[in-house]
């Protein structure tokens, strides 16, 4: 009995020492994973995930504090990519964080705008230009469609408009995969 205890104790001490040394020797600084997650997120900075922006959400995912299905603008595709990167299973978008919408940009009705600058302060990517008491305008190219400028506007002059298809953004459609036989022509 004593021998057994001695053997196990010896083993524990030796292995513990080895592990302790390794932990010190191979300490990991920083977390390159956050960058990889952040690269997948759509950078709308909309905060729908419950975090202050895409980067904080990425940090939370890396730490395991957040699920990967909290980003509505990224949609199912974004979740698939995160699942792939992290080796987790796909989950459909969590409803409490919102639904996937067509990509839109904010439009300010310039006749109604009073120039209060509240939307400018709200915009996370500085895509709204204007100064106090001057009309404001959204630079559509830089607008991420986060909708953060909608609530602060005191006169409700901002609306979201879906981006229309143009010659540059037109896409070839998925070829119809014919599962049913082609309708037979009347002879």
């Amino acid at each position: 009995m004593l021998a057994a205890i001695l053997v196990m104790a010896l083993g524990a001490v030796l292995l513990g020492a080895a592990l302790g040394y390794a932990a010190a020797r191979f300490r990991v600084e920083g977390d390159p994973l956050v960058e990889k997650i952040d690269a997948i997120l759509p950078q709308t900075q909309c905060g729908q995930c419950g975090f202050a922006g895409c980067k904080p959400y990425a940090r939370a995912i890396a730490k395991g504090e957040a699920e990967i299905n909290q980003c509505p603008p990224g949609g199912d595709e974004g979740i698939h990519k995160l699942a792939d990167l992290l080796g987790r299973d796909f989950k459909s978008l969590s409803a409490e964080h919102g639904i996937e919408k067509p990509k839109s940009v904010a439009i300010i009705d310039e006749q109604a705008c009073i120039g209060c600058t509240l939307c400018i302060q709200a915009c996370p990517v500085d895509a709204i230009v204007g100064a106090a008491k001057q009309m404001h305008t959204v630079i559509a190219r830089q607008c991420t469609g986060c909708e953060l400028c909608l609530p602060p506007c005191p006169v409700n002059c901002i609306s979201m408009q879906p981006i229309a298809e143009s010659a540059e953004t037109w896409k070839w459609k998925y070829p119809a995969y014919r599962i049913n036989p082609a309708p037979r022509e009347a002879a």
Partner: protein
Amino acid sequence: MTVLQRLFSFNGGVKPAYNKEASTGLPIAMAPMPAQLVIPLHQSIGGTPRPLVAAGEYVLKGQRIGGADGDVSSAVHASTSGTVVAVEMRLMPHTSGLSARCVVIQPDGREEWIPRQPFDYRGATPEQTRDYLRDAGVVGLGGAVFPSYLKINPGKSGKLDTLVLNGAECEPFITCDDVLMRERAASILKGALIMREMLGAARVLIGIEDNKPQAIAAMEAAARAANEEAGHPAMQVVAVPTRYPAGGAKQLIRVLTGIEVPHGKRSTDYGVQCFNVATAYAIYEAIALGQPLISRIVTVAGNVARARNYEVLFGTPMRDLVDLCDPRPDSDRVIMGGPMMGLLMPADSVPVVKAANCVLVGSPKLFPAPPPEMPCIRCGECAKACPADLQPFELYWFSRARIFGKAQEYHLFDCIECGCCAYVCPSHIPLVDYYRFAKSEIWARETQKEAADVARERYEFRLLREERDKQEKAAKLAARTVAARATAAAALAAAEKPVITAADVAKKALITAALERARAQKAGVRQENTGNLTPGQQAEIAAIEARRAEIREMAKPHLRQDD
């Protein structure tokens, strides 16, 4: 004169029925002037030219109506003299059925040219010549419409080994290059000589598929004459075996020189450059005659009784051309280009543009709907037929399942969409459609990714700025606190709070006032302070309005046209 030229070969390719005889019987004819010309501004690869004319303006034949915009772009010209009726969105010659900005011209029938004079390219710097060609609107007329001025650049070394003239014209039905070579061989070669000089090319190889003996004879005669005049045999006509797609630039370069130019690399890095014969002719016209590109030879063929080649002014509706050739009653579609790579047109009213080498009339009998798509059995026929040495069934496998990363790993973007794979597929899979789908999805994702990167940068900059502002404020506050403590240490804590509250109140008041004003404005009451303004104020307002217009203009391409 055909020097025995060692020929190389490319893998794959197919031999469909060529159907070329129908349209080569008659010489090129000038297509009649249409009632209205609709000239799209975007006719080449690259940026859409800015419109230079407005509705109501009178334009001369050859007058620039669209100016090149950006590094890759090419000008557009009025095809005839007349009045600009409108600059507006019209259906464009593309499968998407979308509209694009077009200049609509009502011809006056006088065909009044702008003053034309030859361009002295020998006296000009290469940059000047390239600018001239850009403003003359010369683009590749083989179908890819890449601005030619960008290609007339020998690269770092300053000279090239070989200039390849592409007269292979491998697609069935199309004969526009064939007849052009038969009838205007000398001019084509004059254009080629100009290019050769600019590129510093040692030799010019003219590749023509061996199913065009008349074109080969004509070009050989012209080449002999040109060589004698120049005093050395730089020009060589080479008959290449007939096999689709021998006319693909990369395939022709491979056949003539043995060089394979990879996807995404410039062929000049390999000492070769390739131009279509029609492009050479356009360069001759632009430089030697001073005429910008306003027309091209178009084959009208397919389900028509009298197929023929016409010289067509850009902007002519395809319907007019088809009507000239007696379409058969069962015709049901118009295709721009050939039966292997042509684009299905949304309507026959779309105009002829620089890319339109052929207007192909289709019918259910001529181009029957493909039998139902069966699953891929990995038989490998497509891989045998692929001229780019790809594994089309793998590309299909991943494109179909939307696994785009894998598709890219299998070199999706090396695909030239020639259609050989779909042509041979025993399962009748529209393979090229899957590749087009995958490519546009990948492009869209890349655009999204770029937008996301910009957004991330801007967001991070904003965070940085906020942090800096906060620190500055804190510093100021600290400074003030120190100052205040020096003067009235005891009253400090009591004094500071009201100050902030007062500021808050003031701000709120401001907003309320603004709200009032906005309500007043909405109610239709004009603001009074715009009544009597000083000229300075007015100028300021005008400047602000201009800036806003500019910003709105920037925003526009992304927005619905009806906003």
